[in-house]
Structure formats: structure tokens, C-alpha cells
């Protein structure tokens, strides 16, 4: 072995060791600061972790772009949903007077809110874009109560890390981290474009997460569960999306 190749071997060895320990340290730090998404296992885990960590370092407090009234889409589009059932139709006929949003989990005061309750809280609205992962989009005005306000009323505990939310559609459940849950543009939306939220767009109540794709904006919202651990929900991947092969973090 000549001099040059020995030097090369030592340099390569040191680089590999430094790289490996750097990665381990980075993984530990990322876990400590909550930068690892619940679907970080599997072959696409490294990419998802890099995306989520980078987005959280860059965008924890940033606001989604807002648009002017004349930029609102004339004809917004919503994907068809499966039949919502007789119970939903009855509730619809009664003006959703019996609709309830339950809040449980890591909260001091588990509670249940009617639409009238939600409408009595500070009313917020924003004109933002909703993008589907398929590639299409529209701009609409969303009206509702800030999720942070309702979490405050229920008394979310300091160890809360995620909010899991569910719909009357059993296959559609999602979760967001506290950065999105407490974000000022995250709304429990009951109105759209100046009026009630149409059923096709998720009425009477929809989660509106302004900085993530459409599929995080669950329609027909019925229950919020505050938690510090997503492992206990479903298959432990954070939401229904990764169980169906889609990323949990949909801010891209």
C-alpha cells in the first residue's frame, strides 16, 4: 500500500465516520424538535422526513398567500363524495341544528360544540387557494372559527403535539401538528364565499388547513382529539392518508 492510497483510505474512513455520526446526531435532534413525521418509516421515510423537517424550520409561522375578492374562482370544483347516509340527510333538513363537534383527548375540559356555538366565537375569514394533489385548484373565501380558539376553550394541555380530526366518513380522518393547529389561518370552517358552506364542499363543517393540500381539509367534521402520540390511532402512521399510500404532511 503506497502513501497516497493510505491517505485516501484514512480520509475516506474519517469522512464516512463523520457522515454517519452526523446523520445520527441529526436524527436525534430532529426527533427532539418534533421534525420527524409519523410516516417516517419505510422506503420513502427519508424523503418525507427531509421535507417535513425543512418545512417546519422554514414555515412554522408563515401565512398562506391571501387573494383579493376579484381573484376568487367563479366556479370552484369539489370532488364527489360517497353517499352521506339517511342520518346526514335528516340533519341537513333540520338545518344541521343537531350537528356536534366533540373535543377530547389531552384537554382540561372535554366538550362538544354546536354550529351555533362555533358561530358565536370570533369569526375569521380568508381568501386562499385550495390545491388538490391531482393538480387542480381554486380560490375561495373561507369563514369559520379559529381552531386555536376552540382548543383554548377546551383547554389543550401543554404536552399536546397533534390534533386528530374525524368526519362522518369513517375512512377520512387526518391529523396536524400544533404548528398548523394553532396557526391563525386554520379554521373550523362553516362558511364559504360569503354564505353557508355548501354540502358538496364539506358543509356544515370542514377543517380548513390553508398551507396544506385539499386532502387535509376534511369535510363533515365531527370530532377533534388532542394527543401527544399518533401511534395509537389507526395503523400509527398519523392519518388515513399514509394508510392509503399518501403522505401525512401535505404542505409538500
Amino acid at each position: 500500500m503506497n502513501k497516497l492510497s493510505r491517505r485516501k483510505l484514512i480520509t475516506t474512513g474519517l469522512t464516512v465516520t463523520a457522515g454517519a455520526s452526523g446523520l445520527l446526531a441529526a436524527a436525534k435532534l430532529a426527533r427532539h424538535y418534533g421534525l420527524v413525521p409519523p410516516d417516517s418509516g419505510g422506503i420513502y421515510g427519508p424523503g418525507e422526513t427531509l421535507t417535513y423537517a425543512a418545512q417546519r424550520l422554514l414555515t412554522r409561522h408563515s401565512l398562506a398567500r391571501e387573494f383579493s375578492r376579484d381573484q376568487m374562482s367563479k366556479e370552484p370544483f369539489a370532488n364527489e363524495v360517497d353517499p352521506l347516509g339517511a342520518e346526514f340527510q335528516l340533519s341537513h333538513q333540520a338545518g344541521f341544528a343537531d350537528w356536534r363537534l366533540a373535543v377530547d383527548g389531552l384537554v382540561a375540559r372535554p366538550a362538544s360544540f354546536s354550529l351555533a356555538d362555533l358561530k358565536s366565537y370570533p369569526r375569521r375569514s380568508h381568501i386562499t387557494m385550495i390545491q388538490c394533489e391531482e393538480g387542480w385548484s381554486y380560490i375561495a373565501e373561507w369563514i369559520g372559527a379559529p381552531l386555536s380558539h376552540v382548543l383554548g376553550l377546551a383547554g389543550a394541555l401543554p404536552q399536546a403535539r397533534y390534533v386528530v380530526y374525524r368526519s362522518i366518513q369513517k375512512d377520512w380522518w387526518e391529523s396536524i401538528d400544533m404548528a398548523d393547529a394553532l396557526h391563525p389561518q386554520t379554521l373550523l370552517a362553516y362558511g364559504m364565499n360569503g354564505g353557508e358552506l355548501p354540502v358538496g364542499f364539506g358543509g356544515p363543517l370542514r377543517m380548513r388547513v390553508a398551507r396544506q393540500l385539499g386532502y387535509k381539509n376534511i369535510k363533515y367534521l365531527t370530532r377533534l382529539t388532542v394527543t401527544d402520540n399518533l401511534k395509537q390511532f389507526g395503523k400509527g402512521l398519523g392519518s388515513a392518508a399514509p394508510e392509503g399510500g399518501y403522505a401525512w404532511f401535505a404542505g409538500m
Partner: protein
Amino acid sequence: MASTIAPNPQDSGLTPLLQVRHSFLVRFTHWVMTLSFLALLVSGLEIVMSHPRFYWGETGNIHTTPLFQIPVPSSRDTVPTGYGYVLPDQNGWSRYLHFQSAWVLVLTGLLYFGAGLFSGHFRRNLLPSSADLSAKRLTSSVVEHLRFARPSKEEAWTYNVLQRLAYLLVIFVLFPMIIWTGLAMSPSFVSAVPAAVNLLGGQQSARTLHFFLTWALVLFLLVHLLMVIVAGFRHRVRAMITGRMAQ
């Protein structure tokens, strides 16, 4: 070990002398980026199939008049394509693979970019000389290419002017642009950097540009492959794998 390139004395005269043509860094980044580009291309086309319509401006959906629609079937029944069938949904893994490959491409690209600046690779090997940029030299290079003339032995040790310009275009324009237009489609990224999408004229404009840039890169890939074949496929590919080429 590998640091010397002297041939085995017993073989001299029989085996040609092998000389280093491409550095390890260039070869490593070349193949990693090739793989990630192909993964991005396949997954990107799968994602497009779920909505093969393109728009200009901020928004677009099936109620909006498209700028154009590519004549392929779709993986969603909501898109009017004229085909009587719907393809299976491949978006989940396609999106996971697309973003993971994008990370590989961007990180490898940054390594190549940094090393290229630091080592003088861009200045020495890619920047054309002012003499090469004269109209006469450019024209003769174009003519040589159109004749598909196999380059001389000496020429194989350097890049010709058209090659240099094509590589510079890919490295400094097309790849940065396709990364930019990709980021401009991310609702979370543009919440932090709104100019990334505003400068392009909107989120759907970014998507349309991303699509065109893909085809520009595919065109480069095809011409690049054709030129490698013209120049001698086996020798050139071996040089990009082992780094060595017969003198």
C-alpha cells in the same frame, strides 16, 4: 492501488494506456442524478395522469378553460378525456417517490455545484473560450454535429463548444428552473417565500412551466444519448463509469 495509472509492464504495447477522463465526483453525481431524474420523470408523468390539463395563472380545474390538455387517459373519472376508461390511481407512491428523488437530485446537485465551483471544473471544462464563441467556430461545430462526425481522438479529451453550451444550459438554467417551479407549487413553501410563485404568474403557471421544463430536459437527455452513441457508446459509458479512457 488505484492511484497509479501505469500499465502492467508485461502488457505494455498490448493494452492501451488508460488515462483519467472524469473525476470521481463527476462520475458519482452523474449517475446518482441520472437515476433520480428517471425516477422524477416516471413519477411526474404518473402525477400528470391524474389531471392531464394545464392552465395559466393562479388556478385551474375542470370548470376552467385549459391552456391545453394532453391527449392521454386520466387516473380520475372527473377529468373529461374522451377515453371511455379510467386508469388506476398511482399518485400516492408517485408523489412519495417524486419528492424523495427531488431531495436526492437537489442534494447531489448542490455537491456537484459546490465542488464544480471550488475545483474549477466549470471554468476549466465547461466555460467556452471566447475564440470558440465566434460565429465561424460555432457554425462549423453545428455543421460537424449535423454530419454526425465521430470526434477525433484528441477531441474526446475535451468538450466541444456546443457540448459546453448545452451542459451549461442544463446545469445553470434548466435544473434551477425546474427546482424553482417545483417549489412554487408547494403551498407551504410559498407561504414562506411568496415571491417564488408570484414571479412566475401563479401556481398553475408554475405547474405548466414545470411540465415544459421536463420536456426540455428529456430533449437534452435524448440528444445527449445520441451524441454518446455517435462518439462511441462503449468507450464513453466506460469512461463515465470507471473514469478512464484509452489514450
